[in-house]
């Protein structure tokens, strides 16, 4: 009998957990998502209600007097609700100050199910080696706020030049040559530093490193194939083909690294006066895994564009692909295996296709997010992603 995906039974959830073993914490996140699936859709939350929840969260963390002002909505981010605010407080080590902050809260069900605690830990883990926003507090289970949330510091900068038009989510951001020259080296250097960090020295209790060998790739394929089973409506034979292909061609992980998993233009802030990257954002999909996943993601056709000559592909509209590889290898001191990059290109497109076609459909249909219209809009990229995946598989790896 066909499962009711909008009201999943405990037996069906258990069967998916058995069929698709993955990183234990990812299993918990997906299981929680499914256990809450039949619950109500997303109901609009007022700024005042969020302010109250924040007051409760911050009050549980600090003892001194504080006040929250200037609450306002932020746009951007298809997956999380974001509210900016100012906190007047006694900042440890600094003293009394007003700090600009951002509340990042999940909707009833997100286009990507992730954990605020993992996001918190990952940002803390890399804060000494790359620019990231300071993270302050999290509400892991929505005890203070309507849904689980994270509070981090507001950083200066923009995700795209002020005088440009781009598509949603920062995709297709156009950058002038003089901007690229300054941003590209930093962009690559930061990625190299993330991958070179010894993750074992960081407090990453919410992560499990895959065992050497194939487990990293296998956990990844299981993760997204499980999400496909959980969320999809209309089947797509190409997704089935890709899943089988990925399993038959899994690469061995040579060295576990922290993987950002969404490292691209649109996910970092830079200041326009000096072209300095001030913060790497959106760590929610990060895991301990194979650095080639990030390299394949960053070099994806989806996030880049053609140079003025109409031929040269620019990685994230910043730098040509050969130059990107050379600069990364020099900065990280780690080799890039082109076969593994190709495998992860298929893997990444597989995950995007699952997110936009399956989860995007499911959450928008059930009215689960604050941005159903954006999530529905993003489904339109699915054809481009499937076509890339087809070409990549046909090309072999």
């Amino acid at each position: 009998m066909r499962p009711d995906k909008d009201r999943p039974s405990a037996e069906w959830i258990a069967s998916l957990r058995r069929k698709f073993p993955t990183e234990p914490q990812i299993d918990q996140i997906l299981t929680r998502k499914m256990e809450r699936r039949a619950g109500p859709g997303y109901a609009p939350v007022s700024l005042d209600a969020l302010k109250q929840g924040l007051h409760s969260l911050i009050g549980s963390q600090i003892q001194s007097r504080f006040s929250i002002t200037n609450t306002r909505w932020l746009s951007g981010g298809a997956s999380k609700i974001q509210m900016a605010f100012d906190l007047d407080w006694e900042r440890p080590g600094v003293g009394r100050e007003t700090t600009g902050m951002v509340l990042r809260m999940e909707p009833a069900e997100s286009i990507v199910a992730t954990s605020r605690v993992r996001e918190f830990q990952l940002i803390r883990a890399v804060r000494d080696i790359v620019p990231v926003p300071p993270v302050f507090w999290f509400d892991a289970n929505g005890e203070h706020l309507p849904y689980p949330a994270l509070v981090y510091g507001m950083m200066p900068g923009v995700t795209k030049p002020s005088n440009t038009n781009t598509r949603v989510s920062g995709l297709g951001t156009l950058l002038a040559p003089q901007m690229r020259e300054k941003l590209a080296p930093q962009f690559i250097e930061h990625l190299a530093r993330i991958h070179s960090l010894d993750y074992r020295t960081a407090d990453l209790t919410e992560f499990t490193a895959p065992a050497p060998g194939l487990q990293c790739a296998e956990w990844g394929v299981n993760w997204w194939e499980r999400v496909w089973e959980e969320d999809s409506d209309e089947d797509i034979p190409m997704i089935r083909l890709a899943a089988a292909w990925l399993r038959r061609n899994m690469p061995v992980m040579d060295r576990p690294s922290i993987v950002h998993s969404d490292y691209r233009v649109g996910n970092f802030l830079f200041t326009e006066d000096d072209m300095r990257i001030t913060a790497l954002l959106d760590w929610e999909l990060g895991r301990i895994g194979d650095r080639h996943q990030d390299i394949a993601w960053t070099t994806s056709r989806t996030f880049g564009g053609l140079d003025a000559d109409g031929k040269t592909f620019l990685v994230c509209n910043l730098i040509s692909e050969p130059a990107f590889y050379d600069a990364y290898e020099a900065a990280a001191g780690l080799p890039i295996d082109r076969r593994t990059v190709k495998w992860y290109q298929v893997y990444n497109n597989f995950s995007i296709a699952v997110l936009v076609y399956a989860t995007g459909y499911r959450v928008a249909r059930n009215g689960k997010t604050h941005q159903d219209v954006l999530v529905s809009w993003l489904m339109g990229i699915g054809g481009v992603v499937l076509e890339q995946m087809r070409e990549q598989i046909e090309g072999g790896c």
Binding site: P44, R167, L171, G172, D233, E234, D235, I236, P237, M238, I239, R240, L241, A243, A244, W245, R247, R248, R301, T302, G305, L306, Y357, Y361, A364, R365, G367, H370, Q371, D372, V373, V375, S376, W377, M379, G380, I381, G382, G383, V384, L386, E387, R390, I393, E394
Partner: protein, 180 residues
């Protein structure tokens, strides 16, 4: 084609209701009224869409019936000869079209979904087996189908701006004409 009008319309209504309308200055009555009309119109479209094809088919069927009756009435009088002949030609054409429109679009969509699912199951079974020849043949079959289908999916949604080189895509009407 997962991105169908029903889900698009519902998400637009939600965006208008939850975000846009509450943000409109209450003194701007014109903007408030227009926004509510947009929601009402979208809601009406959502209700209309599933019935649109059957509604048109029903109307054409009744028009054809009336046309036949009028042909009989006009049959005896020579002064109606020209219009009667034109009406008869149109009615015959309409009846032929009605025969071709026997299937409801929802049935068509249902059949697409069913076949996708069945093909997917076989692809999974072949792909997880160990017969290299079968795997290669099955993959070639699906990769070819995907090439043609994604071409149409992308052409249909080209206005969204996802394409690196949108000019390289054939227009959707040309692609659909090929199949017809």
């Amino acid at each position: 084609m997962q991105m169908r009008p029903q889900i698009q319309i519902n998400s637009m209504i939600k965006a208008m209701t939850d975000v846009v309308i509450p943000a409109i200055d209450s003194s701007n009555q014109l903007a408030l009224e227009q926004s509510k009309l947009v929601v009402g119109m979208l809601d009406l479209m959502a209700q209309q869409l599933p019935f649109q094809f059957r509604f048109d088919r029903d109307e054409l069927k009744r028009l054809a019936t009336v046309a036949q009756k009028l042909e009989a009435i006009a049959d005896a009088d020579p002064k109606f000869g020209g219009p009667r002949r034109q009406l008869q030609a149109s009615r015959i054409s309409a009846s032929a079209l009605l025969d071709q429109c026997a299937v409801d679009p929802a049935q068509l969509e249902g059949s697409i979904r069913e076949l996708r699912e069945m093909i997917g199951a076989v692809v999974t079974a072949i792909g997880s087996g160990d017969n290299a020849k079968q795997i290669a043949q099955g993959e070639a079959c699906i990769l070819d189908m995907t090439r043609e289908q994604t071409l149409r999916d992308r052409a249909l949604l080209v206005a969204q701006g996802w394409e690196l080189d949108p000019g390289a895509l054939p227009p959707i009407d040309e692609l659909l004409k090929e199949a017809e």
